[in-house]
Every structure is written in structure tokens, then in C-alpha cells.
Symmetry: C2
Subunit: 366 residues, 2 copies
């Protein structure tokens, strides 16, 4: 049975894991602590793909002190050889007697194999400690492997009364400086940011990470008609070749091989029954391209379509303490007539960000 | 100078004051603590109009121990004879040497006179300790005396995306049980609840205090046209004679002395330039009637009108963690085109209420 000391060590492992935020994709954030005789003798975290796994780092640091000790790790250790060797073998060789973990790894390459292998060698394995925190930490990685498609995060920056702009389209700045920094941190943690062509025409955004350190995500414009001004920053500022335009086959053909300004990557997406881009097909294309996560930044019509399609996994709503009255709503028609049909959330939480509040919720499915 | 111990005693005085919540109007909530030799020797709070003031209760409890002591009280002691005698004289007679208070009392009957009288008798008076908390506690009382009109609180119960109902008008229940209890607590603290006739037709509310203990406020229907169904609960359930209908002189004349079902109190309110009831005139009428506070509960158009008229002092927005998409917005056109023109708030705060969050903000003026 896991006790309070166990929780403390696991919490520390989670803190260590957190240090990798924004740098581990497509791998999860993992932290590990080796405890022997009640003392921490080793600790580590996963820094980036190809780099040492957390368990290995912690055991290496512990050296001989690992023998007879307990390993705390927020995700099931791997048992396969990827870019690094299997963690299970290192744990077994080090003489660890007990492994406490938060979650089984749903990645089909692991998915219980790690636990079984450790147990086979007589190691006690306990799972489920700080499960909720561990899930939240790796929501993208876990969601991706469970859903077998990119994890979709919808971000809204709105007034207290749910507007993302005034009637004249003014939206700068509804949210505060700390919230804008938070939004850039969010960008740095996803593989791609997605916007509609309307947002490109109206706001001409760069979608880069600026207010914090972090790598720029891919920038995807969804546009059936390719009505994207040639001077748009997303097309012009494409030295890193991370701009993608997702459109229909007809629109691609109409370009007659000329391509678009800035030579963005072109994806061909099916039309849905409603004559718009089929978002399921789009998300599937994004998955094939190797993207594990998509951040939908707007506008309202794209956000609404993603929600209607049941493709939003997580909503991040930044609400500023101001009231606009009539204006542009963050979300449009979701076909909801009764309150019982409303979109609800599992394990939502709200944090403060300067004067704003940031709501994060996991969309309840079914 | 007030130190940390002073803060602790004042915080306790505020806690005592809070016990009178919902029962002191038109008086403020006041708590008092007498400290001598570092020990609390007396404490008290104001329970209801006509009952002992907090200072008197605390000094009575302290008896001889009050001599040479310090009195902590969240509002300036009165120096006039109302339903009870002046507190200043009791303080002077008891031999209190030092008075620490949070706020000067803006009531024209006090307004610095209490402080001056105490100082005249050589008592040290320090003002401003826990000022913010003390302001928040008595926002209604203070606002009423500063503005010289009833204090107006606007309450919204909305979804995360700012809707108060679906497109079909369904709104039961957006907010959670704890939030509904909170809303009833709010009703019990104000002198009157105000709704538009549309809300009466649509929701047929009772506007009574049910989920908590507390007295029922007056119930005011604002309706220029008197389009109020005769079977409305607000008209029918009027045994306590607390239903008021505010309408135009023309509508009153049209009743030809017959009155309305349930014999509500009728107020005649001027028409504004826009051909609707003039809310400034309405609020002034409510003040003459003796109401210190009004809680505007809806609908959207009434809420919008109050905000547009600059008559909302405090906004309480209950936000539930659900998304409705297209629906009925809580607020309509406020004539705001730029974000810089948005309605903003001074010293806002957010608390949790079950799964919901409750935002409370004081509307910034000018």
C-alpha cells in the first residue's frame, strides 16, 4: 500500500517530469526518484527524445545505493528498445525491489508489458499513485495513444460574458500579459497550431512562440477556398517550413502546380457532407504527418466545427474580468437545445493568471 | 502603527460582524473586540436594527477590563443617538485608550464625527486596518451612502461561454446546487430583487429565499406595458405584500383604479428618451421607498439596460463549467466598440462554488 511518504516521493517525481515540458514530444514527460532507507539516492527526468529515460538517469545517479530500493516513476517503465534501451532491464539489474508508478503507459509498445516484466523478476509493482496529477501532466501523450489520433486542444480568450471580440472585431487585448504568456507556453507544448482562413485575413497572426522560450509549433491554416492573402505572415515568414495549408483537392488542382507564396506544405482534405473540410479527415492527416497534438486557436467558426465534430479533447478558456456586451461570441451553434445536452467536462480546474482566470477541462465523451 | 496582532484582532472583529449578514439592513454589519493586556476581554456584533451596536456589546462584556484597553471595530463608531445611544460616549466612559477601525462611516450622520469626538477625549484613533475586507463586507451600506441611491447588484448565472439559456430558452439548471444556494443567500441580503416582465412570462419565478434561511426581499417587476400574466406567482403569492410593479403613468391610468391581481404596490416611473422605463428614475423611486439595495436578476435586456445606464455597482457572475454554443447571451449591446471601452472592475475576486466559479467585481466608474 502506498502511504503518505510514497505520495511525497511521487509528487517530487512529477515535479521532475514537469521540467521536460515542451521538449519531450512525441515522448511523455517522465520523472523518477530512487529511494533507499527513506532517503532519495537518485533522481532524473526525461529531457528530450533520444535522451536518457528518467528511470535510467535516476538509477545511474543512485549507483550501488539503488540496490534494495524503491523506484517512483509517473509512468510505466518501457520494456522495448527504442532510441534508448528498455528501462525494465536497468531496473532489474540495479536490484530495485519495489516500483511505484502512477499510470500504465497506453502506448501499444508498452501497455502493461513493463509491469509484467518487472513482476516476473520478483519486483513489487504498485500502480495508481497520484493518478489524476499524472494524467493531467501527460494529457497529450495519453490522449494520443488512447484515441489513436492527434490530441486536440481548443483555446479561447474571452471576456467574462463570453465574447472574443467587439462587434467591430476588436480583440486586442482582452486577456492580460500573463495570460498571453500562458498562451504562448501552450503553443510551445503542442506540435501544431490550427487556425481558419478568416483568422488569417482578420488578425494576420504569426502563431510563433514569443513571450516564453520554446520551439515554434507547425502552423496550419484550414481553408477550403484558399482565400488567404499572399502577404499573410504565415505564408511569408516560412523559413522554417512549418506552415501547412489544409484544403480541398479541387483547390489544390486549381493552383496548377504553382503552389502558394512561401511554399507552405499542402494537405488535401476531404469535404464533409456539409460542404466544408472534413475535420475527421483533417485530424487523421495530421496524425499521419506525425503530429501528436493540435491547438485550435480560432476563429469562432473553426472552434465551433471542432466541438460539433466531437474532436475537442481539452478546452482551455482564458476569461478576462471585463464585460463587452454584444460582440463576437467565442462559440456558435452546437445544436444544443437543452441544458442536459451541453458540453461538459471531466476533472476541470481553474487557475488565476494575473487578473484573468484560466479554465481547463477535459471534454466528457458520450 | 497597526501591527500583525492588530490585524488578527480586526480579522476577528470582521468575522463577528459577518454573523449579522442578512439581518442588519439598513444598518451595516459591525463587529467589535476589546483587548486589554493582549487578551480579548470583550466581543460583540450588531445583530439587527434596534439591537445593541457591536461596540456596546463588546464593552458591556469587557466590563471593568475595558479600562486602558483597545477597541477593534470595522466601522467608525457612531456619535449620534438613533434607536440606540451614541457609541462614542460608551467608549469614552469605559476608559478605552485606543480605537483601531477599518473605515470611516460615510453615513452623513457619522462621517468623521465619531473619530473627532473620540480624539477630543484623548483616545488614539487609527483608521484603515483591513480596509479592503471591511469595504467588501459592507459594500451595500457603504455604496448606498456614497452614491446616495440604492446599491445595484447584477447577478448572472451563465455557461462558460456566456449563455444564460439555450436557443429554445432552456436554462434549468445551468448552475449547480451550491451556486443556487449562494444566489438565494444573495437574495436574503438585499432589500429587493428586480426582474423584467419577460422573465416573469418566461420563468414565472417566485423570487423568494428558499435554499437558505433568510428574509424574503421585495420583488419588483419592471414593465412599461404591464404585460404580466394574471397567474404569475409574483402577483398571486403576495400575502406578504412585497410585490412591486414599476410601470409608466399611462399604464397605471389604463388600469382605471382596478389594480392588478394580488394588489401589488404600483410605482410610476418616467419614460426615458428611448421610450423605455427610465432606470435612474426607477432607482430613485426605490430609494425613496427606503430600499438600500437592488438585486437585478434578469433577463438579459434588463441587465443590459442597467449596465448601459451606469447603474450597476457590483456584478456577481456565476459561471458553470459547461458550454452551450449558440443560445441566449447574458448581456446585449452595451455600445462598446473597442476593448478599451469594456466594462471593467475594481478589486474583483473569484471563488469556487461546487463545480462553478463565482466572479464578484465592483464596476469601475469613469
Amino acid at each position: 500500500m502506498a502511504g503518505r511518504r510514497d505520495s511525497n516521493f511521487m509528487r517530487y517525481a512529477l515535479d521532475l517530469a514537469e521540467k521536460g515540458r515542451g521538449r519531450t514530444s512525441p515522448n511523455p514527460m517522465v520523472g523518477a526518484v530512487v529511494v533507499c532507507g527513506g532517503r532519495i539516492v537518485g533522481e532524473g527526468y526525461h529531457r528530450a527524445p533520444g535522451k536518457e529515460h528518467a528511470e535510467i538517469a535516476a538509477i545511474r545517479m543512485a549507483g550501488d545505493h539503488a540496490r534494495g530500493g524503491t523506484l517512483y516513476v509517473n509512468l510505466e517503465p518501457c520494456s522495448h528498445t527504442g532510441r534508448t534501451g528498455p528501462c525494465t532491464e536497468t531496473i532489474i539489474d540495479a536490484g530495485i525491489k519495489r516500483v511505484v508508478l502512477s499510470l500504465k503507459d497506453p502506448n501499444p509498445l508498452v501497455n502493461g508489458r513493463g509491469i509484467r516484466r518487472l513482476r516476473k523478476y520478483g519486483i513489487t509493482v504498485e500502480s495508481g499513485l497520484l493518478r489524476e496529477e499524472a494524467r493531467r501532466l501527460n494529457d497529450i501523450y495519453l490522449g494520443y495513444h488512447v484515441n489513436k489520433r492527434p490530441y486536440v486542444i481548443l483555446k479561447l480568450a474571452q471576456s467574462l460574458d463570453g465574447r472574443i471580440a467587439t462587434t467591430t472585431g476588436a480583440s486586442k487585448w482582452i486577456s492580460s500579459v500573463p495570460s498571453r504568456r500562458f498562451a504562448h507556453k501552450l503553443r510551445a507544448e503542442v506540435d501544431a497550431v490550427v487556425v481558419g482562413a478568416g483568422t488569417v485575413r482578420r488578425d494576420n497572426p504569426t502563431l510563433t512562440v514569443r513571450h516564453v522560450r520554446g520551439r515554434d509549433p507547425y502552423r496550419i491554416i484550414l481553408s477550403g477556398s484558399l482565400d488567404i492573402p499572399a502577404g499573410s505572415r504565415l505564408l511569408v515568414n516560412n523559413d522554417d517550413l512549418k506552415t501547412v495549408v489544409a484544403t480541398t483537392g479541387i483547390s489544390v488542382n486549381r493552383l496548377r502546380g504553382k503552389g502558394l507564396k512561401g511554399s507552405p506544405i499542402l494537405w488535401t482534405v476531404k469535404n464533409s457532407a456539409r460542404g466544408r473540410l472534413d475535420l475527421h479527415d483533417f485530424v487523421s492527416k495530421a496524425g499521419s504527418f506525425g503530429l501528436q497534438s493540435l491547438l485550435v486557436e480560432g476563429g469562432a467558426s473553426l472552434a465551433t466545427s471542432f466541438l460539433r465534430a466531437g474532436l475537442v479533447d481539452k478546452l482551455v478558456a482564458i476569461t478576462a474580468p471585463l464585460v463587452i456586451g454584444a460582440g463576437i461570441n467565442g462559440l456558435g451553434d452546437l445544436g444544443i437545445n437543452e441544458i442536459s445536452e451541453a458540453v461538459r467536462f471531466d476533472s476541470a480546474y481553474t487557475v488565476r493568471s494575473g487578473p484573468d482566470t484560466i479554465f481547463t477541462g477535459y471534454v466528457s465523451k458520450g
